[in-house]
């Protein structure tokens, strides 16, 4: 009896807490589909006008365009750097390995605004001031710990005897890498690309320091919008963000197992 009661109470608590996590997303969806031009409850009339407005607003379009450019570049660059470096961590020992690993994972604990302002200052000194390159560079630093982890997980699980067998049959190191190792790393690389893409597309705190009017990413444009206007266009955009992110996470969960990849923060 006591066991049952405790187990039921436990479940109720978990459901309530999950409700707390979902609450803002649900509430914002209600607002987004509501006709009224000010946020109001309960909703009166169903309408898609805020989605139309959000999708046709010039700053959002430009922000979206910038975000996509930055996201693609960040995903490619970070998966190249993360992929090669994860391979190095897994296979080689060398002086300074721990240090290099610590440096490239440190963005998990250093405030993003510190990193943002650091890159702002540094890049203006070397004449790259507020270009796409700076945003991509910063985003790569921020997403790399996540990419590293996902590639590393798939390398750990790789049976190295397959590589030895290929080498024993006369394959050159290059051939082994391209025909054996790389295909086996695919799930990790895929998860890495998704991580990088999602995090880059949503990044705000460092971006606000390093973007200019012409290069502002979508989250920065959204921030500027919230400060100016109170209509539910932002709600519509938020719904799109929530849905896209959830879909991508479900995909990632199916490809590699989200739980395995996310063990990342454990080492802090």
């Amino acid at each position: 009896m006591r066991t049952k009661l405790a187990s039921f109470a436990g479940k109720a608590v978990v459901v309530l807490l999950l409700g707390f996590i979902l609450l803002p997303a649900l509430v914002v969806a209600v607002v987004a589909f509501n006709q009224a031009s000010l946020i109001s409850f309960p909703p009166q009339e169903l309408s898609l006008r805020w989605f139309v407005r959000a999708l046709t607003y010039r700053d959002f379009q430009k922000g979206f365009y910038n975000s996509v450019i930055v996201m693609c570049a960040t995903a490619v660059v970070s998966v190249v750097i993360g992929g090669t470096f994860a391979y190095v961590i897994d296979r080689y020992t060398f002086a300074g390995k721990k240090l290099l690993e610590a440096v490239l994972s440190s963005s998990l604990v250093i405030p993003y605004f510190t990193i943002g302002i650091g890159f702002l200052i540094f890049t203006s000194q070397i004449g790259l001031h507020r270009t796409y390159a700076v945003i991509v560079l910063t985003h790569v630093v921020l997403v790399l710990p996540f990419v590293l982890r996902s590639v590393y997980v798939s390398l750990r699980g790789l049976d190295q005897r397959l590589e030895l067998a290929a080498a024993g049959l006369g394959a050159s190191p290059w051939q082994v890498l391209v025909t054996i190792t790389l295909p086996l790393m695919t799930p990790g690389l895929f998860a890495g690309v998704l991580f990088a893409a999602i995090l880059s597309f949503n990044e705000f705190t460092a971006s606000i320091f390093i973007t200019a009017q012409g290069t502002q990413t979508l989250p920065v444009a959204m921030y500027n919008y919230v400060r100016e206007y109170a209509d539910p266009s932002m709600a519509a955009l938020s719904v799109i963000f929530f849905v896209l992110t959830t879909v991508l996470l479900v995909l990632m969960n199916m490809s590699l197992g989200l739980g395995k990849v996310l063990a990342i923060v454990e080492r802090e």
């Binding site: 320091f209 919230v226 709600a235």
Partner: protein, 285 residues
């Protein structure tokens, strides 16, 4: 032959080294600028100086530092309370579909970005927002409760913000505890609550420490949340750095503040580790 033993070493390590160098240069320029003189109205900086350091000690800035520490502490503590049951459910749920659902709900906020989430909370907690509509609809209050621009609201949103990190860390720690221990305690007559409190909870000690300290450091980065939810009434270090750096172009002082922010987090996290270290001394297998 060295070449065949490490065929790709140089090619594969170079990109990482180059990125690390760029990153270090970025952080180093924060350090450098901290000791440069600010020339009003100019983006150029002057000669070396220590005078920026005294900004950190000004009452206004000191107040923001203490507020930030308080908000981070409260956030870490409440995140632990909310995150623990979810992490526990995540690890102990038997159905894998249910587990996947809990995991995805739990981590989605980590990936939807600070702006989207903060805006959503604005809609929940604003004067014409969801909470007030419910309260007034039920006749519990006659006029909207002021939730926005309070530390309470900022902490609620930050708890939501750090929850995924806490859940991931706790679930990792909990998944390493063999459920057989709990079963053993129960077969010896302990109720579910007692077996949890005397067996599982102490065994998850290292996870608790890692969770609290990481969430603390993570909250330190908050910018959009205090900016939009706090609306200038509640300021954290990130807001101060932005105001000083971007709004008044005083990069040297912004640099000092963010440097102080990094050191401040490190010291506080270190102290917290020390204070929580008894939790680490638990009987292991």
């Amino acid at each position: 032959m060295v070449m065949t033993k490490r065929p790709f070493f140089i090619w594969f390590v170079t990109p990482a080294v180059v990125l690390a160098l760029f990153y270090m240069f970025g952080l180093a320029s924060v350090l450098e600028l901290s000791f440069r003189k600010f020339i009003p109205g100019s983006l150029e900086v002057g000669e070396w100086t220590f005078s920026n350091l005294e900004y950190v000690a000004r009452p206004l800035f000191r107040a923001v530092f203490t507020d930030t520490a308080l908000i981070c502490l409260l956030t870490a503590a409440f995140t632990l309370l909310v995150g623990y049951p979810i992490a526990y459910a995540l690890v102990r749920t038997k159905s894998s579909a249910l587990r996947a659902a809990i995991l995805i709900i739990a981590v989605t906020p980590l990936f939807t970005g600070e702006i989207t989430r903060t805006y959503s909370w604005l809609v929940v907690m604003g004067n014409a927002g969801f909470v007030n509509a419910v309260l007034m609809g039920l006749g519990l209050v006659s006029k909207p409760v002021q939730l926005m621009f309070t530390k309470f609201a900022v902490v609620v949103v930050l708890v939501h913000f750090t929850l995924p990190i806490m859940i991931i860390i706790l679930a990792t720690a909990l998944s390493q505890i063999d459920p057989a221990y709990e079963k053993a305690a129960q077969s010896l007559g302990a109720g579910p609550v007692r077996s949890f409190a005397t067996v599982t909870l102490p065994l998850s000690g290292p996870g608790l420490i890692a969770g609290i300290t990481t969430c603390f450091a993570w909250t330190f980065s908050a910018f959009a949340t205090p900016q939009l939810i706090g609306g200038g009434q509640v300021n954290m270090i990130g807001n101060l750095v932005y105001q000083v750096g971007i709004a008044s172009f005083n990069f040297p002082v912004a640099a000092v503040l963010s440097l102080a922010g990094v050191l401040f987090t490190m010291v506080l996290v270190g102290l917290m580790r020390l204070a929580l270290s008894p939790l680490e001394r638990i009987p292991t297998r």
